[in-house]
Amino acid sequence: MGEPFLELIDIGKTYPGVVALDHVSLSVAPGEVVALLGENGAGKSTLMRVLGGVVAPSSGTIRIDGVARTSYSVADAIAAGIAFVHQELNLFDNLDVAGNVFIGREPVHGGLLKLIDRKTLLAKVRPLIDRLGADFAPDTPLAELSLAQRQLVEIIKALSLDARCVIMDEPTSSLTLSETERLMQVIAGLKADGVSVIFITHRLNEVMQCADHAIVLRDGRMVGALTREELNPAAMIRLMIGRDLRSLYVPPAAPPGETILDVADAVTSTYPHQAVSLQLRRGEILGLAGLVGAGRTELARAIFGVDPLLAGGISVDGEPIRIASPREAIDRGIYLIPEDRKACGLLLELSMAQNVSLPDLASYSSFGLVDTVRETANADHQRERLKIRAADVKAPVGTLSGGNQQKVVLAKWLSMRPKVLIFDEPTRGIDVGAKQEIYDMLRRLSDAGVAILMISSDMEEVIGVSDRIAVMHEGRISGFLARSEFSEHNVLQLAVGHTV
């Protein structure tokens, strides 16, 4: 293995009020496989964006082939041979493999019409397909390919650009075991050809299998670099965690009561071969932790009736019920505060008053006509109660800040009679002050007898707010943790599919 051709030295990136990267260094030699580890939000994506020229670092040096670059754009990154295989693949469903690989760079016959030279196109792609040993043809329509095959198309595209370093962002998160095995072989092949790979993953055994060395990020800082010899799961997990969690925890006023929501062997379409069972008790906050893509949001959507359950059942207060739509969930007192506020949680052009009353309009109307006085009065009341900073409850909610928007979603449900509240990433994109207010509200609600299921990818939040934690891994619950067992180490162990 030769000298590193790509070096990031002491890279820092600050956004107003946030340090996203702090003195991170990374070097890649030809044919080297580097694993990049860290929890959600540790700074991996920012680092990759710096590497791709999308984000300019606030400090530090980028050196390519030993030459320090003062400016470094996306075009520079491509010219330097850096290519991305994205988590959500950037491919065109309506084109074939070759069309995707050479999109925007199609070989053309001369002339005004610039007709595509199909023969040359296919001939250029075929050797690349062979090189990876892929089982599709250059003219196979992309729509016929599996996710794993599409990933290979992305890699082929990278190779067609003479990539020297391919960056793969969680490439195996949606692959089956055998597909993962295949990808490992492809990576080994690239390595043998002298192409480097930067590999972002949560799966420690894959790191063990293919990485030459690894760096670990935490809160934007580089907390460790492991050589091939030092790579073992214990060392990696130790580096990924180990931060002092500020103690947020407020214990419940009374021990949790009887089971309100009982999910038994629920199967969602995302993980058709995994069943989830969990019980939620009155006055309890159950944290649902796991890595992105573990199937937590899908579970919440199924409980709320947005997506159908493939199998299994849900009982409320011991009575089995069938929830075919959000309306039926709402009528049972099961409310969801969705992760995507703008697309699902709120109607941004509508006012706060109109958003709050929407699920329960009948209560604000007589003879089918909406009583805007009552509607506004309730909105005003909720605004006071939740300290929503909105000048006017009649202004469109789209004009409010993220934290206040989230409180409007909450106000919608608190105007009714919540029995079970499901929060999907309750504080995503919300500033610190509003976060604390939402945590306080969670505890007040649970003390008032509401059962709360809180999906969160924020370790501090899961550990600091929950009374009990369920951890999901690839569509199943890999374990429950009682308050006494709470630790970042334990949560992470379960999240990557190990046992505690």
């Binding site: 969801l336 697309a343 109607l347 805007t372 009649k394 469109p396």
Partner: protein, 341 residues
């Protein structure tokens, strides 16, 4: 009244004044009464269209439905001796059935509304022509339905103005539609589903039902318009009767502030849009413009109107941004206008 509706009203008054100055016959009672009659008939199916557009759909079969149901209505009362009240009920039921079909196909089968209703446009037109063997359906000599004729095509003298009963029908329809859309729980659901169906669903709105009911309202109102139009024309050539009416309806809805993306529009606006279109028709006739230019004039005016609207919206936004207001982008807020009206 909303600002947009107000500017539309001003535009109507300006166009009307110009026409009246050039050709004073515009203001003759007979001409105004005839124009009002057209507004009455066209207004009803334009409101019908608006319901569908507000939930984010489109209905292209309006003209063909008017032809098919018109033919059926005349056939029922003239040739099959069905009591006209029963026939009327059957026709309305037919319109509702078509609405249920279109709504179900778009929601449950997930076919794009443009495609569903385009097929409807072709099918109903063909059915009407086949049913009459492509011949004109009409009232023979001696066929007389005095009550029905008075109710649908008659006029009542109000302070010296012969008020067409189609206008009375439109006033009733518009009044109820206004109440439903701008005041009722259901109207909220229409706008919410049109704006963001996913978020509406997360708020417990059964969006499929809301969309289907919009098509049902559209079908029912179109059937009502079909009877009025059939009784007004008294003879129906199934190949051309009602053709392009869906485009009049869409044009009136767009002029009235409906967005084809859904979630916007007001009933007052749609009625004003219908009036503007009919005044323009009248203008073509009275100003001696070749009637072949009819559509071209309408198209030009609509385009200019939409461009002007766009221009003013952008200018408002720019000046709002210049003042440093965060709420600069609050232009659409369709439910806001409810309070303003």
């Amino acid at each position: 009244m909303h600002k947009k509706d107000l500017s539309l009203l001003i535009l109507i008054l300006v166009v009307g004044t110009v026409v009246a100055v050039i050709n004073p016959r515009f203001l003759l009672v007979g001409n105004l009464s005839n124009t009002a009659n057209q507004v009455g008939m066209f207004g009803i199916f334009s409101i019908a269209e608006a319901f569908v557009i507000i939930v984010g759909g489109i209905e292209l079969a309006v003209g063909s439905v008017i032809a098919l149901l018109g033919v059926l209505f005349i056939d029922l009362i003239v040739n099959r001796d069905v009591n006209w009240m029963v026939a009327f009920a059957l026709i309305i039921a037919g319109g509702i059935a078509i609405g249920i079909m279109h709504g179900t196909l778009t929601t449950k089968m997930r076919i794009q509304p443009f495609v569903v209703t385009l097929c409807g446009l072709l099918i109903y037109r063909g059915a009407a022509r086949y049913y009459t063997e492509d011949s004109t359906a009409g009232f023979g000599y001696g066929a007389s339905f005095p009550t029905l004729e008075w109710l649908t095509a008659g006029r009542t003298n109000v302070l010296g103005f012969p008020l067409p009963h189609s206008v009375v029908a439109l006033a009733i329809v518009a009044g109820i539609a206004w109440l439903v859309l701008h005041r009722s729980v259901y109207g909220r659901y229409f706008y919410a589903v049109g704006k963001n169906e996913e978020a509406a669903r997360y708020s417990g709105i059964r969006s499929d039902r809301v969309v289907i009911s919009a098509y049902v309202i559209c079908g029912g109102l179109t059937a009502l318009a079909a009877v009025l139009i059939a009784m007004y024309t008294r003879s129906i050539s199934p190949a051309v009767h009602g053709s392009f009416y869906e485009l009049y309806a869409i044009a009136a809805a767009v002029l009235g502030g409906c967005s084809l993306r859904g979630g916007e529009g007001s009933i007052i606006g749609v009625v004003l849009g219908t009036i503007l279109l009919q005044v323009l028709q009248n203008l073509v006739n009275l100003l001696g413009i070749p009637s072949s230019l009819n559509f071209a004039v309408m198209g030009t005016v609509i385009l200019i109107g939409v461009l002007a609207d766009q221009y003013f919206v952008q200018r408002r936004q720019r000046s709002a941004t210049a003042r440093g207001q965060v709420g600069a982008k609050r232009s659409p807020a369709p439910l806001e206008r409810v309070g303003a009206e």
